[in-house]
């Protein structure tokens, strides 16, 4: 018997909802509370990882985020490799850096041009912006695509790569497979420099804060996949001592934890921090792009993160070309290893800042405990503080205008929690 099917026309928008909520309390013209609530999946993943083979950790954690899966893969691999005392051969380290370049390009361009720029130019979203700035949007899409090309080739597919494993990759690309990416990346590098020109002319709010910047730092390269944990107030630690520096605390108003230093300090992760702490490690064209955009070596205005991301896009494209040109496939796609009991630590520079993983593994190679600290949750306290300072002079405005102001300030940090045009559930309590 065949069942009869009926087609129902729907034509409705699917929406991203409920990812972020902001509560403001205003008492007699004073802002007394600014609490940001964000949805934080790492908690579930940490529980889910217990009892799983440590070799599964990269693929499981890569599912946490569709915008930065490579970051999860890389931090996870770094932690398990640390645990096993595994040294990854240099050609594989380079190939991983190339993959990371792909993710920085994709994620930064999405963040800058699709989500952040419309705020500055006064459009509700990238679509309305595209009507009057079509060339810029098309150029951005093409630059982003060049990044996607890297992730698709090295990762095995465009989103949620499947070709990465502890010790290296499952399969190495040939030189002939990498070569076709080159032209598009070279085009994208020129286009990225061009796209920074209109950004330099934007009207940035006159707003600076004295952040404590935290990022990785490496002897010879701008940080992506490795380095020590350093801060603008002199901290310099191996990643294994992350927990000595930053600890997480529950706060009443959010499901995500707040990170604090031992003396209660709040730290700022991400492009501004990487740039401030590694300005001397910029590649030549990235350094020139920063100078052309009028950026000083330390940028304290969070709204100018859009420009610093642009400098990092130039850097990632330049690095990608260098790595492709220098690529010689090794004889093995991955270093061999045996799981062993212990604790491993890994941190890499996700587009939005340091992403820290820690795993405890038993003698059978099974995970007994996992800790994942996403940069957005570390930055949450800084975002709230920015909001408090930035919103204060705008308190007389109606709620809708206030929402726009808050969204812009939050988008300085993260598109993951602000990907739909009006994501923010804003509650304002006026007394």
């Amino acid at each position: 018997m065949t069942e009869t099917t009926r087609t129902i026309e729907v034509n409705q928008l699917a929406r991203v909802e409920g990812e972020g909520a902001l509560h403001l309390a205003i008492d007699g013209g004073q802002l007394t509370v600014a609490e940001l609530r964000i949805f934080e999946p790492p908690r579930y993943f940490e529980a889910l990882l217990r009892g799983r083979d440590c070799r599964e950790a990269p693929d499981i954690t890569a599912r946490i985020c569709g915008i930065c899966p490579v970051a999860y893969l890389m931090s996870s691999c770094a932690a398990i490799e640390d645990l096993c005392g595994l040294r990854v051969p240099a050609p594989l380290v380079d190939l991983r850096r190339l993959l990371y370049c792909g993710e920085w390009i994709e994620s930064h361009v999405l963040h800058m041009f699709m989500l952040h720029l419309p705020d500055f130019l006064g459009y509700p979203d990238a679509v309305s912006m595209a009507r009057e700035h079509g060339d810029l949007v098309r150029a951005a899409l093409r630059i982003k695509k060049a990044g996607n090309g890297i992730v698709a080739l090295l990762g095995g597919r465009e989103i949620h790569p499947i070709n990465v494993r502890i010790g290296g990759f499952y399969r190495l690309p040939t030189r002939a497979e990498l070569a076709p990416l080159r032209d598009e990346l070279a085009f994208a590098l020129d286009a990225a420099e061009q796209a920074l020109v209109p950004l330099a002319a934007l009207d940035f709010p006159d707003f600076e804060r004295d952040y404590t910047f935290v990022a990785l730092r490496h002897d010879s390269e701008y940080p992506m996949g490795r380095g020590r944990l350093v801060s603008s107030d002199g901290v310099d630690l191996p990643v294994a001592r992350y927990d000595d520096y930053l600890t997480e605390h529950h706060v009443r108003h959010s499901t995500s934890l707040h990170s604090r230093t031992a003396d209660g300090g709040v730290v700022h992760l991400g492009p501004l921090a990487r740039y401030a702490l590694n300005h001397d490690r910029l590649t030549p064209r990235a350094r020139a792009a920063a100078a052309a955009a009028g950026l000083p070596p330390v940028v304290r205005n969070p709204f100018r993160s859009i420009q610093v991301r642009g400098v990092e896009v130039v850097l990632a494209l330049e690095e990608a070309l260098r790595l492709i040109d220098g690529y010689v496939p090794g004889d093995t796609p991955a270093a061999a290893f045996e799981p062993r009991a212990g604790i491993g630590y890994g941190a890499t520079e996700a587009p939005r800042g340091v992403l820290y993983h820690r795993y405890a593994v038993d003698a059978a190679g099974l995970i007994t405990d996992a800790k994942i600290v996403a940069p957005t949750s570390v930055n949450q306290a800084v975002i709230e503080a920015d909001l408090r300072h930035y919103v204060e002079p705008n308190l007389h405005q109606p709620d809708e205008a206030l929402r726009a102001v808050c969204e812009t300030a939050i988008r300085n940090y993260d598109p993951c929690i602000s990907c739909s045009a009006h994501f923010l559930k804003l509650t304002v309590e006026r007394r």
Binding site: T5, N11, M114, V127, C419
Partner: protein, 86 residues
Amino acid sequence: MHEHSLIANLLSRIDAIACQHSAKRVVGVSVWIGALAHISAGHFREHFEDGSRGSLAQGARLDIEVSDDPEHPQAQDILLRSIEVV
């Protein structure tokens, strides 16, 4: 992260529409993905298959059209076009 919420929203709409039409099952779902929707067809499919488990739309055929026009008025959106029910 954003995929979770997106698919949850979509599936609840599909379930609601199927129930309104007293359908037993949803056998086909047709969606349109805008050029700036920040999700690829493959990625969407994977999340849909994951998310629809245990819902009326479990195992439904998924037809996805991906637009490449960034100036389309709905370029940032995902549109649920139609569902096929029995």
